[in-house]
Symmetry: C2
Subunit: 242 residues, 2 copies
DNA sequence: CGGGCACTTGATAACTTTCAAGGGAGGTGG
DNA sequence: CCACCTCCCTTGAAAGTTATCAAGTGCCCG
């Protein structure tokens, strides 16, 4: 499903006004668009990319493998997200990025990013902001993982994903397409697949969500938020001068 | 204990060269230095600061309280760290920042940061980098919290703190001052205080560390790293053009 | 129609929390 | 100068949450 509007612009414009010039710069920053199939790596741990990947369509995850082969997903990405904007300055990837579904990905060369930082201060701040939001999400996940029950943590994640998808026009009413397996959810929440299954059943039984195939429907937003102790502040969905 | 060199400059110079001009700009960005006593808030959740706080001396933590009163610490800060540089662009604090010890804190007005982003592209990238390293640490903590045992997680944290303190000249050989209570460590790792105690005893019994009062000594770095599955890549301690 | 993958279920085991209590060190007031 | 209070660390036992192990079901795709 291809959209006309670059979802990154959609995402940034929710946080601050972009000038036409800035939008043009962003559009022209893209050198090429490629397709990555599900379960393929988009970037590998240890890589030193000379471009950053922008997700145009599909779902992707940042992940890390630990010694016993267990995997932890540290970020889930939806269209409009940069997958490794941080590699522009961090240089070496400290984690891999994986396509969860077929992904359409735009490449932005690091030389272009450097040029933007030299010439477009406000646009630079917007890109910086983008990585700051990633950081805010990381902190929220840390809190959820450390101090919430498995059920609350799941509810929290669902709230977040719903809002993030809605923010880039990927929600249809109370429903979003969420093509993520329970095993992947487990790797995201730090739970076993079996427990993910039980937790989802609990949320379903409570009448909070419906989750059939890829279709996730929010049945009771208020109670879901309450169960997940969710507040959206950290997503910075406010439009402000930045 | 006051040092002459601004620890932020020390920290940044480990990652890339700073020009004399840039250093001067950083030094003069500081408007005032204040002291915050242990257990006091430096910034509160919900605040909209118009300046960012740079930690010159002491230990601080970003934290969040969840409903049942439990607390999660999402970042531990050592001298040279910005505590809320992200508030420059995120505007609203999504968490609080607490002094764990008496802290000496410099204030950098957001208007000054904006001026830096307008006029000093490379310095801007270095500040951006600073927040990217925070993000990398968050991801590493997520992995440790989700997929490592309590003991491994603790070992991992100790490795990280030792290196970070060493990087700003706060290590004396294999020893660092770590004035953090076991309760605070629990809030950092997502564990109960009791379990923190048991995990520390295990690391001591294994001959990996000594931890008496505030003095933490690394007794067997190689084995500690192995237990904590620690690799330092994510700390970006390499000097590179950025 | 067979195979594979994702989801589901039940039983047991492991890890971590909670509850309860005692010990030790430092600071403060009488 | 000592008693006492508080905070932190430590220990033991019981409870709770989540993982692991083991199967079985359903569905999509070749």
């Amino acid at each position: 499903m291809t959209r006309m509007t670059n979802p990154l612009i959609l995402k940034l414009e929710q946080r601050d006004r972009l000038s036409d010039d800035e939008k043009k710069v962003l559009e022209s920053a893209i050198t090429r668009v490629r397709i990555v199939e599900a379960d393929e790596d988009i970037v590998r741990e240890g890589d030193r990319p000379n471009e950053s990947s922008l997700l145009l369509d599909g779902f992707a995850a940042r992940y890390k493998i630990v010694s016993n082969g267990r995997r932890q997903i540290s970020a889930l990405h939806v269209p409009g997200d940069f997958l490794d904007l941080h590699s522009f300055l961090l240089k070496t990837m400290d984690h891999g990025v994986l396509a969860l579904t077929t992904c359409r990905i735009a490449a932005v060369p690091h030389v272009t990013l450097e040029k933007i930082t030299d010439e477009y201060p406000h646009l630079t701040r917007m890109l910086w902001l983008n990585t700051l939001i990633d950081g805010a999400i990381h902190r929220e996940w840390l809190t959820a993982m450390g101090r919430l029950s498995a059920t609350a943590h799941m509810a929290h994640l669902i709230c977040e994903l719903y809002l993030r998808l809605k923010a880039v026009g990927r929600a249809e009413g109370d429903m979003v397409q969420l093509p993520i397996t329970q095993a992947e959810l487990g790797d995201t929440l730090g739970l076993s697949t079996v427990h993910v299954n039980r937790v989802l059943q609990e949320l379903r039984k409570e009448g909070l969500i419906r989750f059939q195939g890829d279709a996730l429907t929010i049945l009771d937003w208020e109670r879901l938020k309450k169960v997940g102790e969710f507040t959206s502040t950290y997503l910075s969905l406010q439009n402000e001068d930045r």
